[in-house]
Symmetry: C2
């Protein structure tokens, strides 16, 4: 076997670069961490936005109507180069020697994901497709790379998502405290870690909307000039409309039992437009509308805990863009009065770096031969080792 | 690190299944071999043809006009299942215990390959795309899998092809003999191994047409009823037309210096149709036409040796479908009178199994941390370890 892989795996402290490029296709997040069995220490983090032309091309690759085979093949290698460049740039600006990095963990860019599956012969075949050729990352950086984590979970009968709960478990599992790691991105999702949690005990699911509906409404209100309610300042100036809130809380997704996941199909522009019109009919001010939507996110999270968690968490650890929204955090605090409200920052990991850090942790587990999917979150039949190792 | 990978790599004798699915998309070749540093022993081999509907779907995936993103994603996983099934079936019918297999090496099905590359920003990006999800192979069989060999060579500046020369070197490199491993598939290609050959000394390139032109003409003559000149029986009944032969031998590809590769663009149906019409104008009989085309393949191989090899080989080792063509082999023997004419069968490897065996050898090298591309064949800047390892 490659002596390099053996050397890396033998290390008590491993330096790992984690890469993540999300469905918004804004750019690639890169985090460099030192990992031991006990602890993860974040050394550097940055986001490298895609050039607009590249972003447009990748978005075209995400739709069956516009994705061409030759472009998929080409941009798989292009993104590999872009990802490798991002690691090299982050190292340079953070004065981290590239050669000090033992391992790269790269999620890649999802361009298609079919967790429900499609019939073939007598079976249903689930599938997923990420691009950003890891052989290019490994070659350009000279660093052993682990990538393509989702397919193995799908092979094991899972949906290939979510994968972050393993990292939540690794980072925040606690002997005396039960914890909920609450990510508030476009969609909000929770990883619940009971005290003395084992990998089998983890519960993880999407709680419902995160910032997606708020952001959509802000764009509608501002005629596209504003993209989000910075720090929740607009929401802070409004009053929650109880009747509209209660109507939104009747959304069928919120009642569905986990494991469950949602997306733009349920809380995208179509939903936002409908709410916008209802608010207009009611004569609701913009401030009150934004306040009500913010309460919708906070309430749907708290209700999910009450309905679907075996016990209420001692601590809630926030991450994702929504944790910058002070009004949202305040509302959540009042909905969950008995939980201590923290963020990943309290553990030295910026809320924005969390996802990239997660893929560093997943790669660390893979190279150590540890199973790193969470069957309770993905629906897989059993724990498996995720990913493909590219030796250098 | 996965203790399983370490265990496998430590083995003096490793049992490996090699999988290959070629551009003809007929089916998947599976070979099971025992590999030591000194020797490869073929235990079982079979071809598992694709169901016609699956073959049609895969062929649709190979053309940018008809390949759809959702289908690429779906059939990547379908082919993973088909490949895993093929291994399981071969083991069952050969009474090989699946659990005795240490490793799988899978080439996958190429659906796009762009070795010339395409501009992106200020660089040229080469790319290639194989499907047949190896995570599915690893999961279904429970066997550590190495796959996706071509991308790393491309990352290293190569064309990602040919990859078989490493296996030729491993199987046939000799201290006292220089050898040419001559594959005669649709296209013919040679791997030249000087005596005491090191990896850097290997020369490999396409010599020109193999069976492609002969097969095309046979289909034209027979109105599609016959697919090939079985054992060269038609060619044996004709006489070579010297003037047509000489004209064909002026084909510009044959004069081009290696490394070089060719395909249907140069020796496909268009070329065959032209020759067919010329033969008709000359009033050449079908037998004489087939004999002349057979001589074209034999002569283009012999000329390539004279022009481009540093010395003439002591031995020529034939493989590929063309080695079943007795007339072709006889012609080659008379063109290369000083070389001993052998086939891979003389080394215990059937000419049809050779490619699948090659990917078993490539996987063996990868898991042992050995560089296994041949820069002299692919144009890569340096030797690298090919492939991605999927741990189980």
């Amino acid at each position: 076997m490659s002596s390099r892989i053996r050397e890396i795996a033998a290390k008590k402290k491993m330096r790992v670069a984690g890469l993540m490029s999300g469905t918004s296709v804004d750019g690639v997040d890169v985090a460099v961490v030192d990992i031991t069995k006990q602890k993860v220490h974040l050394l550097a983090f940055d986001v490298f936005p895609y050039p607009p032309a590249l972003r447009r091309e990748i978005l075209r690759l995400c739709r069956p109507e516009s994705a061409r085979l030759d472009n998929i093949c080409h941009y798989n290698f292009v993104l590999g180069e872009v990802f490798a460049d991002a690691i090299i740039k982050l190292c340079r600006k953070s004065s981290i020697s590239l050669s000090s990095i033992d391992l790269v963990g790269s999620h890649g860019q999802t361009i298609y994901h079919n967790p429900r599956g499609r019939r073939y012969s007598r079976t249903t075949i689930r599938s997923t497709l990420q691009i950003g050729e890891p052989s290019v990352i490994a070659h350009r950086t000279g660093i052993t790379t682990v990538a393509d984590f989702r397919p193995r979970d799908i092979a094991a009968g899972g949906e290939g998502a979510p994968l972050v709960p393993y990292a939540d478990y690794f980072l925040f599992g606690h002997n005396r405290l039960s914890r909920a790691v609450q990510n508030i991105g476009g969609i909000a999702n929770v990883t619940f870690l009971p005290r003395c949690c084992k990998q089998d005990d983890i519960i993880a699911f999407d709680t419902g909307p995160g910032n997606m509906v708020i952001d959509s409404i802000i764009r509608l209100i501002s005629g596209g000039k504003q993209r989000l309610d910075l720090a929740g300042k607009m929401a802070a100036q409004g009053t929650v409309d109880k009747s509209l809130l209660n109507e939104m809380l009747r959304h069928p997704f919120l009642r569905r039992r986990p494991p469950k996941s949602t997306g733009r199909e349920e809380f995208g522009d179509f939903f936002a437009n409908r709410i916008y019109q209802q608010a207009a009919q009611k004569g609701l001010s913009d401030f009150c509308l934004v306040a009500t939507l913010t309460a919708f996110t906070a309430n749907s999270i708290a209700r999910a805990y009450h309905q679907f968690l075996p016990t209420m968490p001692d601590e809630v650890i926030l991450c994702g863009g929504g944790s910058h929204n002070d009004t949202l955090v305040e509302m959540l605090r009042s909905e969950l009065p008995n939980a201590k409200m923290l963020s990943t920052e309290d553990f030295g990991i910026s809320v924005d770096a969390k996802e990239a850090v997660s893929f560093a942790i997943l790669a660390w587990a893979t190279i150590n031969g540890l199973t790193n999917n969470v069957p309770g979150a993905t629906g897989a039949d059993r724990p498996v080792i995720l990913g493909k190792i590219i030796p250098v």
